[in-house]
């Protein structure tokens, strides 16, 4: 989350709300978009982002309800508050889009990402990598005499931190899924 996180939760369109000095602050928002799982739907959503010059920091998509053929697209995007509002409105009018939720402003939410790290090395580096993996609760899912593949889930920040630690210890390859997120609480 942005260190400059400003007052959030407002959906007001008042010019006076929007014209404050925070207006140009770049915020990071996590959007959950429920869409019909039909051919090309992902292209519609990401085409809108590229066509209108919006950022995509992370993107995940998979069908979440086989009966209703609904997929959930989780997009982490950045922009000024105005731009974020535009993104939500623009995504919301794509025909196969059912719902757009801004998890960043709609209340507390949890975000998780899964990552795989291949770390190559022998001797002390290898021992240190394994020790740090335990601290970070990363699992070893593949091993050779010269390498490990670690699997970990956590917030993007935690994954970044682990990657930073692994880099000097022989990190050779990383795969990340991007963020999946849900609102906290009992309601859907």
């Amino acid at each position: 989350m942005s260190a400059l996180r400003i007052q959030q939760g407002s959906t007001s369109h008042s010019a006076y709300d929007l014209r404050d000095y925070h207006a140009e602050v770049i915020e990071k928002h996590t959007l959950a978009v429920l869409v019909d799982n039909e051919a090309g739907v992902l292209a519609r959503v990401i085409g809108l982002f590229s066509g209108r010059g919006y950022n995509i920091e992370s993107l995940t998509v998979a069908e979440v309800n086989h009966d209703t053929h609904l997929s959930r697209i989780t997009v982490v995007t950045t922009g000024t508050r105005d731009v974020i509002e535009q993104i939500k409105a623009q995504v919301g009018r794509i025909v196969p889009v059912h719902e757009v939720h801004d998890l960043t402003v709609e209340g507390p939410s949890i975000e998780r990402e899964l990552a795989l790290f291949k770390v190559e090395g022998t001797g002390n580096n290898r021992i240190e990598a394994l020790r740090l993996a335990e601290i970070f609760r990363a699992n070893v899912v593949d091993s050779t005499l010269e390498s490990f593949v670690f699997e970990m889930t956590g917030t993007s920040e935690k994954i970044d931190a682990f990657a930073d630690l692994m880099r000097p210890l022989g990190l050779v390859e990383t795969a990340r899924t991007g963020v999946a997120a849900l609102a906290r609480g009992s309601h859907a």
Partner: protein, 582 residues
């Protein structure tokens, strides 16, 4: 009872069930089965255009002048790519279209087959939605859904891509009543809180202005009626975008004329000086706003729009009202009346507006030797006033002059390419309008350069005996390009001459139409009457002043109150930071 039929037959059946009477199209290998079905029936008229772009523009003209969705049919590959300009035009101007494109059979998709193009991929950003139908059983439902999407909410073009094997295969036909409509149901009623807030603002405003747009037209004739009632009851001045002309009658007392880059002085000054701006169905387009930072600096801004993404996109507004214009106007009127029809005193505001009107910003230097383009349009207006008249335009100076000098009393009478600014729009659009209104006078106000972009449609006009009048203001220039080069590029007229022009009279005669050329102002009236009275297509070659500029003009990067009113005020008017804007 289930009805089995081929996909091709389903297309025709679904069109009939949707009430379609006219389809504009051009055949090709991948749509032959549909053409075969069209051949075997008489309910739907197919109009053969001479280029697929024209099919879409004709369908747009049909749609804008009737309020019904326009329908077009093109083949795969080049047929579909030729349609792209028209689709984009319809998307930017929110025109409901349902376009069918042929496609190579499903088993050939992705093999770079003959006349294969990724039509869905290519048209995704220029349609409201599109569908590739891979199963004949789903075809009829998809077509009904396409009509629903095109005409619901903010209207727009949709496309259905039809692989050839899907057209040949049998499937079950679903009638519209049984078709599953998608979840797509945009909100049309505004909240009562929004309505109350808007009424409160109306009650208190001392310098109000209505700023209306194409959304009023799209909302239907009822919305225009309600707008007239509200404007007349409140006595507030009203201006409109290019797209919204006719929603409020030009003869109405409160009418200020069009606003924007080439809008009227009084309209733009009222926008700049108002304390309450009520935007109804317009979108703060950059042709309207001028320099954003100085746009109407002291007003409370209300924005009524059916599309939430229009809100705060360009101009931050104080009160967004999301809903269909017709519903919103109805509710506003109801609440405003029930609260006692209150308004503040706007007489001082009107006095100010009268002073701005006194500037007479459309004044031009008349001539007895050469036809001024403004004069030609003044005479066209005078001689066709009161007639059952529809006007289309191409894009450029003539378009702006037409918007300034022609008066529209009713909605759906004015068809022009606003958002995309598509040269070549007007001629095919006029054919579409004429086919929808066979007994009306349909005039395409054109420049010679724009008109040449789709001149092949003379064949269509002749074949279907559409007596469209092509009123060409011929200055042998790309007038608006020339004007910008004069103002912005040191009078270096790079490629803005119309070289090697045809003899338009002979061109008309070559197609079997009538050609009229006029160059003397004294002959103009007679020539216009001859054009009107001729029963058939006319190319009217009106040779006008070659170097006339279109004023008023808000130069790029300037504010509403920094308008140029004539040539004398243009020197050094546009600074380099304005020159980068279009």
């Amino acid at each position: 009872m289930t009805r089995q039929m081929t996909g091709a037959k389903m297309v025709v059946q679904a069109l009939k069930d949707q009430g379609v009477d006219t389809v504009f199209g051009y055949p090709g290998g991948a749509v032959l089965p549909v053409y075969d079905e069209i051949f075997q029936q008489n309910d739907i008229k197919h109009v053969l255009v001479r280029h697929e772009q024209a099919a879409i523009h004709a369908a747009e003209g049909y749609a804008r002048s009737t309020g019904k969705p326009g329908v077009a049919l093109v083949t795969s590959g080049p047929g579909a790519t030729n349609a792209v300009t028209g689709l984009t035009d319809a998307l930017l101007d929110s025109i409901p279209l349902v376009v069918f494109s042929g496609q190579v059979p499903t088993f050939m998709i992705g093999t770079d087959g003959f006349q294969e193009a990724d039509t869905i991929g290519i048209t995704r950003p220029c349609t409201k939605h599109n569908w590739l139908v891979q199963d004949t059983d789903k075809l009829s439902e998809t077509i009904h859904q396409a009509f629903h999407v095109a005409t619901t909410g903010r209207p727009g073009p949709v496309l259905i891509d039809l692989p050839k094997d899907v057209q040949f295969a049998d499937g079950e036909y679903t009638p519209p009543a049984k078709a599953k409509v998608s979840h797509y149901k945009p909100r049309v009623k505004a909240s009562i809180e929004e309505i109350n807030n808007l009424v409160s603002l109306i009650e208190k405003a001392e310098r109000p202005v209505f700023y209306t747009g194409g959304g009023v037209i799209n909302s239907g004739p009822g919305a225009s009626q309600l707008l007239r009632e509200l404007v007349d009851a409140t006595g507030f001045p009203i201006t409109s975008t290019l797209m919204g002309l006719g929603a409020y009658p030009a003869s109405g007392k409160a009418w200020l004329g069009m606003l924007g880059m080439h809008g009227l002085y009084e309209a733009n000054m009222a926008m700049h000086g108002c304390d309450l701006m009520i935007n109804i169905g317009a979108r703060f387009d950059d042709r309207i706003t001028g320099r954003i930072q100085d746009f109407s600096p002291n007003s409370t801004k209300v924005h009524v729009d059916i599309d939430p993404s229009s809100i705060n996109k360009i101009i931050r507004v104080d009160l967004p009202v999301i809903g269909d214009v017709g519903h919103v106007l109805e509710d506003v009127l109801k609440v405003w009346k029930s609260r006692g029809r209150k308004t503040a005193d706007t007489s001082a505001w009107w006095k100010q507006i009268e002073e701005w009107r006194e500037v007479r910003c459309l004044t031009y230097k008349p001539s007895e030797t050469v036809i001024k383009p403004q004069y030609a349009l003044e005479r066209l207006e005078a001689l066709t006033k009161g007639m059952d008249r529809y006007v289309t335009t191409e894009v450029g100076q003539h378009q702006m002059w037409a918007a300034q000098f022609l008066n529209f009393e009713d909605p759906n009478r004015w068809m022009t390419s606003g958002g995309l600014g598509t040269m070549g729009y007007g001629f095919p659009a006029s054919i579409g309008v004429q086919l929808a209104h066979p007994d009306s006078l349909v005039i395409n106000v054109a420049g010679e350069a724009s008109w040449l972009m789709n001149m092949q449609e003379m064949g269509t006009a002749m074949q279907y005996r559409t007596p469209v009048k092509q009123f060409i203001l011929n200055n042998e220039r790309l007038g608006m390009v020339r004007q910008w080069q004069q103002l912005l590029h040191g009078e270096r007229y790079s490629s803005s001459w119309s070289e090697s022009l045809p003899d338009f009279v002979k061109l008309a005669e070559a197609f079997g139409a009538k050609g009229i050329q006029v160059s003397d102002p004294k002959d103009l009236d007679d020539a216009i009457m001859e054009m009107i009275n001729y029963d058939g297509p006319v190319i009217f070659d009106c040779l006008v002043e070659k170097h006339e500029n279109c004023f008023p003009m808000i130069p790029s990067g300037k504010a509403h109150n920094e308008m140029l009113l004539g040539d004398a005020s243009t020197e050094g008017a546009i600074k380099s930071d304005g020159a980068v804007l279009v």
